[in-house]
Amino acid sequence: MTTATAVSAGPMEYLKTIGVTTNQSGRGFINPYDCGFTNDGRIMVLNHADAARTALIRIGVLNWDEEYLGEFSKGTGRGEGQWTLPIGMTISNDQRIHVTDEHLHRVTVFDTDGDFVRMWGEKGDGAGQLNGPAGVAVAADGTVYVAEQYNHRVQVFTSEGEPVSIWGEFGDGDGQFNMPWGLALDTTGNVYVADWRNDRIQKFTKDGQHLTTYGSSGTGDGEFSRPSAVAVDSEGYIYVADWGNERIQLLDSDGHFIQSLRGQATLSKWAQDFMSVNPDEYNTRQIANLVPDLPDHLDTPYLISAQTEPYFWGPVSLRLDPEERLFVVEANRHRIQVYQRRKD
């Protein structure tokens, strides 16, 4: 029998789960890929959907109390503010929502009312061009960092979208990348990149000088399989979405392993609404073991997560809210699990 430990001991505390799946517009998530926080307490969730369902792509708006406040979308296509496969989102200090689109190869900027501000990028490998933009981060001074998965590089832009510099190329040496995905900044402006297909996190100065590398391929503590996202808190602790291992790891500021999380989702407020009107499902759910022992051939993290609902499945983004609560965005489970590091 295959079993997995849900939580290893450590400072991470589970707070709650937000969201529920949907197949329509409105309340609920459809393959959420990222989230962000406005100064006035709103939570924005980027719903990626998929190529056959682009009409459902949107940014949904809610708050910590799980009230659904609305959504916005300019629709699918190449027009201003439209999208096709949006995968990364961040909200800058000046309250601008930056969204990357890996199909349109561009960055689009909205204000927090959902109005279009600007966009830049087209497919290519020159300066100012993008190929498969993924993670995006904006520094305090407005500088925009974009990880380009198919150009295997990080490109830096001004807040207006003017190209500033480019680092990296395909490879597995220091400062080289293999399909980078998520990207994060620490309080001093250093840049952390989830070097996805190299199974590691690389840390750079804000000018792109390689500082250090965390992790290597594997399933052990401090090892990664296709990390998708990284976040760094005010004390320098590093959170990594270990996507291929379907888990979250907490590292200290030197990159030493502290704790691994496998997920422990519970019913969100919206999920409870569903259960309250579908008693046949709720009653049978109550007698089910949601963390079952599985046959030996179902032995990969992916297969285990596919049948273990509380576990992370497809953790594609990690974001810290102003109170440094960690939001784990799960594309395959249409929800966000929220944790917080105990500070003692």
Partner: protein, 471 residues
């Protein structure tokens, strides 16, 4: 390297796989027919499009929420695998053990079922039937989760005998009941919740929860059973042990394999091959690898008689065209179309019309399906920017001593997408088309986009022929 060798290898690859390009055929002929058969029967690294790359790009295939995601995910594998027989056999088992999404609402379980088929495809038929009986998708599909110690449900027991092993006329109604009793307690983990979700098509609250097998000892009828003349306190494995020893089972599985891989219709020569396959089945302790070796190495299979004796199924047709065109080699926007196209042609992956699978042979094709077939394949092979089409044009270019006559154009194209044997009427019709559309000069220096498009037009027309519909 003779044309006959190429034609034979093309035949083998159409049947054991989805077809091969000329470059591939030349390489395979160099290895020798029987070595190629051995490689097909002993697959190594499949070299398929990696799961991580698929799941990163295709959120729908990562989640495997619904039908077309699962179908396209499998088709990516068929399109990119080096182990063509592995996927062709999986497709065969999917048709034989036809399990449908409609009752399950669980694409992940269906994908796992195909993985199970792949794992046991070339091994013992006994193991295959045991694993099939434990397959969660099959359990829900044929109601074995409702088969209880105190209240049997015969559905799985009946179909196991009728559709998966012996065929009607080889057992009694009592045997069915005893068989069903032996499979009581074979169910899913959390079956109450999972079957409720299945029956309500629920993705709530947090998407599908995949299934796994669970044996409930307390719900299993451990009493004495008499099955096909044997008596004992049989459990499911014991029943399957008896089933696989039956001559009817050998005949059944060998005939189905023959019809899928050799010819839609079984003639006298075919009967002889089936007898040989049955002998191998018993001699090898029910090993499918050995049975397939007997088939592929038989004189009948290698003879002209079995060439183009099957109508290509829709999945075969779509995958064959895509492999020939060289498209979908990496994650592609709108890849769900691969699955949808086969459905438009009458073979929705994971949507067999019933537990009996698809009606094959000429029944694949009606006028609606034919339009879909012609248009899809034409789009793939009628576009000179597709890598496989370009490769065909490049090859013709290398072989060109001068501008090609209409006759030369048609012959070369028919050769390179097959070789395809054309009837005189078909050949004449396409030659006339070639004359009308104008000359093609593919020599370096004189080759233009218009020349390339003319060749692509010919490929489009050649794949629209009756002859191309056959494998």
């Amino acid at each position: 390297m003779s044309n006959a060798d190429i034609a034979l290898m093309a035949h083998l690859m159409r049947r054991a796989g989805f077809g091969a390009t000329r470059d591939e055929l030349e390489q395979l002929v160099g290895q020798g027919y029987e070595n190629v058969v051995e490689n097909l029967l002993n697959p190594g690294d499949a070299g398929v499009m990696p799961d991580d790359v698929i799941r990163r790009y295709h959120s729908e295939m990562a989640e495997m929420r619904e039908l077309n995601s699962a179908g396209a995910y499998w088709m990516y594998r068929m399109v990119t695998t080096r182990n063509q027989l592995e996927e062709k056999l999986a497709l065969f088992w999917h048709g034989l053990f036809a399990t449908g999404y409609s009752k399950l609402n669980q694409a992940n379980a269906l994908v796992n079922q195909i993985t199970t088929f792949r794992r046991h495809s070339l091994g013992s038929y006994k193991t295959m039937l045991v694993e099939l009986s434990k397959d969660p998708a099959m359990i829900i599909w044929l109601d074995n989760h409702d088969n209880h110690r105190d209240n049997i449900n015969e559905n799985y027991g009946r179909e196991l005998l009728e559709l998966f092993s012996m065929g009607v006329g080889n057992y009694t109604e009592d045997d069915i009941k005893e068989c069903a009793r032996a499979f009581t307690g074979w169910t899913l983990g959390n079956v109450e919740y999972m079957s409720t979700r299945a029956s309500r098509d629920s993705i709530w609250p947090y998407s599908r929860i995949n299934w796994h097998f669970n044996y409930r000892d307390y719900d299993h009828d451990d009493g004495e059973k008499t099955f096909l003349g044997h008596t004992g306190n049989f459990n499911g494995e014991d029943i399957i042990d008896i089933i696989v020893q039956q001559e009817a089972t050998a005949r059944f599985v060998c005939t189905r394999l023959f019809q899928f891989f050799a010819a839609d219709d079984v003639n006298e020569a075919g009967e002889a091959v089936i007898s040989d396959m049955m002998a191998t089945y018993f001699a090898s302790e029910y090993e499918i690898r050995s049975v397939m070796r007997t088939l592929f190495n038989s004189d009948y299979f290698r003879s002209e008689e079995s060439r183009f004796a099957r109508v290509k199924g829709p999945v075969e047709l779509v995958v064959g065209a895509v492999r020939m065109a060289g498209t979908y080699q990496e994650p592609t926007f709108g890849a769900d179309q691969l699955a949808r196209q086969a459905m438009y042609m009458g073979q929705g992956i994971f949507q067999p019309p019933s537990v009996e699978g698809w009606h094959e042979g000429a029944e694949w094709i009606d006028s609606g399906a034919l339009v879909e077939r012609v248009n899809f394949v034409g789009r793939e092979l009628g576009d000179p920017s597709n890598p496989g089409v370009r490769a065909i044009i490049d090859r013709m270019s290398r072989q060109s001593a001068g501008a090609l006559s209409p006759e030369e154009q048609v012959s070369a194209c028919a050769d390179l997408i097959g070789p395809l044997e054309l009837s005189e009427g078909t050949f004449t019709s396409i030659r006339e088309f070639a004359s009308e559309q104008g000359p093609a000069d593919l020599r370096d220096g004189s080759r233009t986009e218009a020349d390339e498009q003319r060749i692509a037009n010919l490929l489009r027309l050649l794949t629209a022929t009756r002859e191309y519909q056959l494998a």
